[in-house]
Point group: C2
Chain length 141, copies 2
């Protein structure tokens, strides 16, 4: 298995509502796949929005209904960008779960929840390089 | 907010056990972050393994205990690769939730659950290009 993920699908209650939220953050979908699913090109991978009940059935899993042990993170280039992005997410309708603050690992981060409760940590990690195209390069990676 | 994800963290019960599973799939971690967390470089992003209880606390969320509406997918270049990868995952200790089969959207896929229940859809999507480095490029993307 190659060491990569192709697609992260977020199960949502209402696909058009979720799409409006991510578009309010500045995202655009160039892939017209109809009203039932949205694909966002995200670097070398794709983020999809699909109805959660369909995703659960397709994943052959019982839906616990809440959070399920996966959190996404989006790294930015400074603590100030963390705060600005959290403010923008709040204005777009996100819930701020944790305001930006220094972290135990020496960075700075906060967390928002999208309208379906999916968590995004917004982080500045001074030890990880962010390339011009947004790619993350681990030390030694 | 740039249209990308930097890090997907999988909350796991036992970090060394989870690490052994992904290493058995052929993954390697070049980042020595100690026994409590593992980082895998995955294209331009990172996949992390961390204790689920700590991830829940860090994400300021109550843990539903089960699946939480996020499924990862790993695309490959042929239906035969789907079957081979699922067989390898099963041999490494995954549970096969859905055997490889044609899908309603015109592709071919199956699903495995890792030792912590995280779902990976292994898919061949004949409409999406996979670059030599494993990147996915959406039509029009």
């Amino acid at each position: 298995m190659e060491q990569r993920v192709s697609l992260v699908t977020l199960g949502v209650a209402d696909v058009p509502r979720a799409r409006r939220f991510y578009e309010a953050l500045g995202w655009t979908s160039t892939s017209d796949a109809g009203p039932d699913v949205v694909f966002f090109q995200a670097g070398g991978m794709v983020i999809a929005l699909w109805r959660r009940a369909e995703l659960a059935a397709d994943s052959v899993v019982e839906d616990g209904g809440g959070w399920g042990g996966i959190t996404l993170a989006h790294n930015v280039r400074s603590p100030e960008e963390v705060d600005a992005l959290l403010a923008g997410a709040g204005a777009a309708g996100a819930t701020i779960a944790r305001e930006g603050a220094p972290t135990f690992w020496g960075g700075y981060s906060g967390v928002f929840a999208d309208p379906d409760g999916h968590r995004w940590e917004i982080a500045h990690n001074p030890y990880w390089e962010i390339a011009a195209d947004g790619s993350i390069v681990l030390p030694g990676g």
